[in-house]
């Protein structure tokens, strides 16, 4: 059963991950930060109920949902690579990788095991944060489709972050270097794209930057996914769009159609981009792990997956290009 050879690696990592107090503290910090963010948003909204536009429970629920979604996404963006950034390098640093090579566990199984173990921890964090969404239920205004959309973006961000950590770890084989590289890349992706969008905006008479600037940014993608959460179909409440709360992160992803602010679904393009990146990074990581570049059987499998992804992308191009073309 060579197919299940990644299981020992996964099980071992799962056992190891929850030893000690690091995981417990991370859980509390993750849930606690989400709760604090939610309370801050609630206080801000409740403190301004009498000012400006009238606000309804559904809109408060949407504001909390948006705040919560962004907080969880920000945490996932920075925690997911941390879960895997030492997974390969630690084996090298402990000089256990050569021993592993002598076992029936192939590099591809090793990598899949490490990736699943890292993602399992992120999934544990997300599941632990689920009760926080009950506060949103108190106010309503968020539908199942909104929740699914946000969870999909969160999950794919977690996968991509974990793959990025794994890739950096396999590339440098040193935890310190991998961490530096990984977080430098993250800062470049998160901050750099926003900075570039703002520079573009400044150089073009403060017009919003083209949506393509935000595609790679996980926070912009989440903002775009959250921006689809519409207020109740009311003349009154339509005027208070949750997009107001996302103005910074939704740079260039909001268009005004028939007087209405509409968030472009650029998160769809982000999902495609992250999917392709993850596939490619895993492929390269495998070869980095083995330090051999000849064609292996998994290359054919991965090539097939890439081709399938490209075909799927071509077939669904209208769906994911909708965000980039500026038409909601």
């Amino acid at each position: 059963m060579r197919v299940w050879n990644w299981m020992p690696v996964l099980l071992n990592d799962l056992r190891m991950q929850l030893r000690g107090s690091r995981a417990a503290l991370l859980l509390t910090v993750y849930v606690g930060l989400g709760l604090i963010a939610m309370r801050l948003v609630y206080n801000t909204v409740a403190g301004n109920l009498n000012n400006g536009l009238p606000m309804f429970n559904a809109q408060i629920g949407q504001s909390l949902f948006i705040g919560q979604g962004l907080t969880l996404q920000a945490l996932v963006v920075f925690l997911a690579p941390a879960a895997t950034v030492n997974s390969v390098s630690a084996e090298y640093e402990r000089r256990t990788y050569d021993l592993l090579s002598a076992t029936p566990v192939a590099s591809v199984h090793f990598l899949i095991g490490k990736l699943l173990a890292g993602m399992a921890f992120i999934a544990l964090l997300l599941v632990a944060a689920l009760p926080l969404f009950s506060v949103v239920l108190l106010f309503g205004g968020v539908g199942t489709a909104d929740v699914v959309r946000v969870l999909v973006v969160l999950a794919l961000t977690a996968l991509t972050g974990s793959v990025l950590g794994l890739f950096c770890s396999a590339l440098t084989r040193r935890t310190f270097s991998a961490t530096l590289l990984c977080y430098a890349l993250l800062v470049a992706i998160v901050g750099g794209t926003l900075f570039a969008a703002n520079v573009w905006s400044v150089m073009h008479a403060l017009q919003p930057a083209p949506p393509v600037y935000g595609v790679a940014n996980p926070l912009t993608a989440m903002a775009s996914a959250l921006g689809q959460t519409r207020p109740p179909e009311a003349a009154v409440s339509e005027r208070l769009s949750p997009l107001v709360l996302l103005s910074l992160l939704s740079q260039g992803t909001v268009v005004i159609q028939e007087g209405e602010r509409i968030a472009l679904p650029i998160y769809r393009a982000t999902l495609g981009l992250y999917g392709m990146f993850s596939l490619t990074a895993i492929w390269i990581s495998l070869h980095l792990l083995e330090r051999r570049w000849q064609v292996r059987r998994y290359d054919l499998v991965l090539l097939l997956l890439v081709v399938l992804a490209v075909v799927a992308g071509w077939v669904t191009r209208d769906w994911w290009l909708a965000g980039l073309s500026g038409a909601a």
């Binding site: 009498n50 000012n51 632990a128 689920l130 009950s134 309503g140 009154v236």
Partner: protein, 787 residues
């Protein structure tokens, strides 16, 4: 066939024919039976011959004849295409005729009113009444027990505001001011036979205060007519019959009047502006609220007037509406319409929703955040089963999700919102007129039951759009005299309705006392309601008296400390100035409750301040609507704000100083062309001499002037020379040139002869046209005689 057989056959044939005939007749008979009840006779008569002013009420008199069994029917009147109707439930005794009044809420263009009589299941009768909007005309009600016809100018002879007169007998005069709302003038001439009821008098008074012009006829029956009117509507007493001065009438109309003009002597109160000379005054006028009362010394039905060629000019000049500003609602007084629209726009300032209780949820989640990490880890470490956390943590998380979700769903609050705004204006000692708008917001399409005072008149609110939301008029049959209304509301839109009612309300005991030392403002709350943020406002200044519980008394010195010297443009700025300004600073946000108060001030008090003789006002805030409307909305966020407006009396004896701003420009007296500069009313100048009439509030008409200071300023630069200023000397009846060419202050030490009845007249001549809009103010020192 035998004889017996033939007989049987014929008999059978006859029986068959009878059966067929009977079976054919039976349905006809049955149908007749069923429609017998439906034969309801219906006659509808619209007041004012069906003429109405846009957006006002039109009284209908509906006569129903029921030849059948007793019935309970609904009579509804609606405009074509309207989504709401006015409705009244009537018990119809069998074989009798019943007459019911019904007010139809008019729009600005309807040409017919549809009236339907129905039971819960069946339409019994319907008819259509032709009506006609009169947006730019003077609709005049002639109330007299004798025939009264005025020789009014023909429509083609007038440039604007043609006159339409309708005879009303005193019995049919509406008992609700809304019923008079289409009229801009009412002429009462002879009510000696049938005095007005108390409700009719209250309605008449409220109509005048809201901007109506009441003309009271003179002549030998005038004393009897006056006796039926309240003191506030009487300008003076009627004396002996006398010969009136026809020359003044000739001068007024430009047509020689009859040499013999019989009338009565009028002895007016000091604050009444008389027309004519001495003991033969032709008429007198006094402002009352936004309205005007004119009392004639002659009977308008006099032959010398009725057949006089100058009569059309006389009536055209005399029968003027109080407000002639043109608007889409017509050129006549549109105060009520404008007030309703302003109030309706305030419905966008919705109250904050009722927040659900969330603290329990946050506390539970905080505990959970600790338990899910260290808590679980410590317990599992104790059993050396840390790896179980992969199952325990999701298990606890899902359990917690279920618990907190149940709590959340159980504590969800309603999205329904009810907002009611009211303007309460004191009419006389024990009555107030309340105009109230209510907005209903629901997340679902709904039919809502409203319970309200049966005397309230309800109509849909005018459609308004603001930055804070759109308001549409509620839909449904709005019952009058029922106290229960079911209305349909659309989800996520503010459904608005307007309710009007006269309510009993003890008058505020408010006084401005002028003493030699100071001016004191004193208000005692006698309304039985808690009054918040009470203030007295006059001449662009406001004194705050704080909150007044029932029976509470508060006083302060006028003028208020640090009061602005320049009157601001709007009363809302005077009362709420600093708070509003802070909210309008860059980055600031104004509390919607403050915006709501601003709207109420703009709707209720601003028109009064802009009126000719507004006098000081007492403003206070009530947390209850005096037209209570109960809405069957569970857990709804509710807001009730009412602005109470009352007028303090001005009193005092002895020496007094009248501060700047108290004298106002009397724009009606001399047809002064007004203008505004820096938010202050001024006089528009031309190359012709400009007369500037200044008046003290009516209550100070007896003020005896000793020293006068006149302040002159202008919108543009004042000419450096060549401006002549004259003051009218009432004793010598001549203009007296002053050695002062402005701008600045002119001080006169012995100025007693320049004031009469609280009036001062200035005349500006020469190059004054270069100054543009001229602002005139005065400060007086003198004596108030004992009352």
């Amino acid at each position: 066939m035998t004889q017996a057989g033939r007989v049987r056959s014929v008999t059978l044939l006859v029986l068959v024919l009878i059966s067929i005939t009977g079976s054919l007749c039976l349905p006809t008979y049955a149908a007749h039976e069923s429609s017998a009840q439906a034969a309801i006779g219906l006659d509808v008569r619209a007041a004012f011959d069906g003429n109405y002013a846009p957006e006002r009420w039109l009284p209908l008199t509906i006569t129903l004849r029921n030849p059948g069994a007793p019935l309970r029917v609904q009579v509804a009147a609606g405009l074509p295409g309207a989504t709401s109707r006015q409705m009244v439930v009537v018990e119809l005794p069998g074989g009798a005729e019943t007459s019911v009044p019904l007010m139809a809420a008019m729009d600005s263009q309807a040409r017919e009113v549809q009236v339907q009589v129905s039971t819960d299941t069946e339409l019994l009768a319907e008819t259509t009444v032709p009506v006609r909007p009169r947006p730019d005309e003077r609709l005049i009600g002639l109330v007299s027990d004798r025939p009264l016809s005025l020789m009014l100018p023909a429509r083609q002879d007038l440039q604007q505001l043609p006159l339409q007169a309708f005879m009303l007998d005193s019995r049919s005069l509406p008992e609700h001011p809304a019923g008079l709302s289409s009229l801009s003038l009412i002429v009462i001439n002879d009510l000696s036979d049938q005095p007005l009821s108390l409700a009719q008098i209250d309605a008449l008074l409220a109509w005048v205060i809201s901007g109506g012009h009441l003309v009271i006829g003179g002549g030998v029956d005038a004393a009897a007519t006056l006796a039926t009117l309240p003191a506030v509507l009487r300008l003076g007493s009627v004396g002996e019959p006398t010969e009136l001065d026809p020359v003044a009438l000739s001068d007024y109309t430009g047509t020689p009047a009859s040499a013999v003009l019989e009338g009565v002597q009028l002895r007016f109160a000091p604050d009444v502006i008389g027309f004519g000379e001495g003991r033969t005054l032709l008429w007198g006028r006094r402002n009352l609220g936004l309205g005007l009362v004119t009392q004639l010394a002659f009977d308008p039905t006099l032959r010398a007037i009725a057949n006089w060629p100058g009569a059309p000019v006389l009536w055209d000049r005399l029968l003027v509406p109080t407000t002639t500003s043109s608007s889409q609602f017509g050129a006549t007084a549109a105060f009520a319409v404008e007030q309703t629209r302003t109030l309706a726009s305030g419905l966008g300032y919705l109250p904050a929703i009722s927040l659900p209780r969330s603290n329990l949820l946050f506390v539970l989640l905080a505990i959970y955040a600790i338990v899910i990490g260290p808590g679980v880890a410590l317990i599992l470490r104790r059993f050396d089963r840390q790896a179980w956390a992969w199952l325990v943590v999701p298990g606890i998380a899902l359990l917690m999700l279920a618990v907190t979700s149940a709590i959340a769903l159980n504590n969800r609050s309603s999205e329904r919102i009810v907002s009611q705004l009211s303007v309460v204006e004191q009419i006389d000692g024990d009555t107030a007129r309340v105009r109230s708008v209510m907005g209903l917001l629901s997340p679902v399409d709904d039919i809502v039951a409203l319970s309200l005072d049966s005397a309230a008149l309800v109509r849909p609110a005018p459609e308004r759009t603001s930055n804070f939301g759109s308001v549409y008029g509620i839909e449904g049959d709005l019952a009058q005299d029922q106290g229960q209304i079911d209305v349909q509301i659309r989800r996520w839109e503010i459904g608005g309705l307007v309710a009007e009612e006269m309510v009993p309300l003890p008058a505020l005991d408010a006084e401005i006392l002028l003493t030699p030392e100071a001016i004191e403002v004193r208000v005692q709350n006698t309304t039985g309601q808690v009054l918040r943020n009470v203030s007295v406002v006059y001449a662009g200044q406001a004194v705050s008296l704080g909150d007044l519980p029932p029976g509470g008394l508060s006083s302060a010195v006028w003028p208020p400390p640090l009061a602005a010297l320049t009157p601001r443009e709007r009363i809302s700025n005077v009362v709420l100035g600093e708070a509003l300004a802070a909210g309008r600073d860059v980055g600031g946000q104004i509390d919607r409750r403050l915006l709501l108060r601003e709207t109420l001030l703009n709707a209720g008090a601003e028109p009064l301040v802009q009126a000719a003789d507004s006098g000081p006002l007492v403003l206070g805030w009530l947390n209850v609507a005096l037209v209570p409307i109960d809405v069957d909305f569970r857990d709804a966020a509710r807001q009730q704000v009412a602005l109470l407006i009352a007028r303090p009396r001005i009193s005092g004896t002895g020496e007094a100083v009248v501060p700047t701003g108290w004298m106002y420009l009397d724009l009606q007296e001399r047809s002064v062309q007004s203008c505004r500069a820096n938010g202050i009313s001024g006089v528009a100048t031309t190359t012709l001499p400009v007369e500037v009439p200044l008046r003290l509030p009516s209550a100070m008409a007896t003020f005896q002037l000793e020293q006068l200071r006149i302040d002159l300023a202008s919108e543009r630069e004042w000419p450096n020379a060549g401006v002549r200023l004259e003051l009218y000397d009432w004793r010598s009846a001549s203009w007296v040139a002053q050695d002062f060419d402005g701008p600045g202050s002119l001080e006169l030490a012995a100025a007693g002869s320049y004031m009469q009845g609280g009036r001062i007249l200035l005349r500006l001549d020469g190059r004054i046209a270069e100054a543009g809009c001229v602002l005139v103010d005065a400060q007086l020192r003198g004596t108030l005689p004992p009352q």
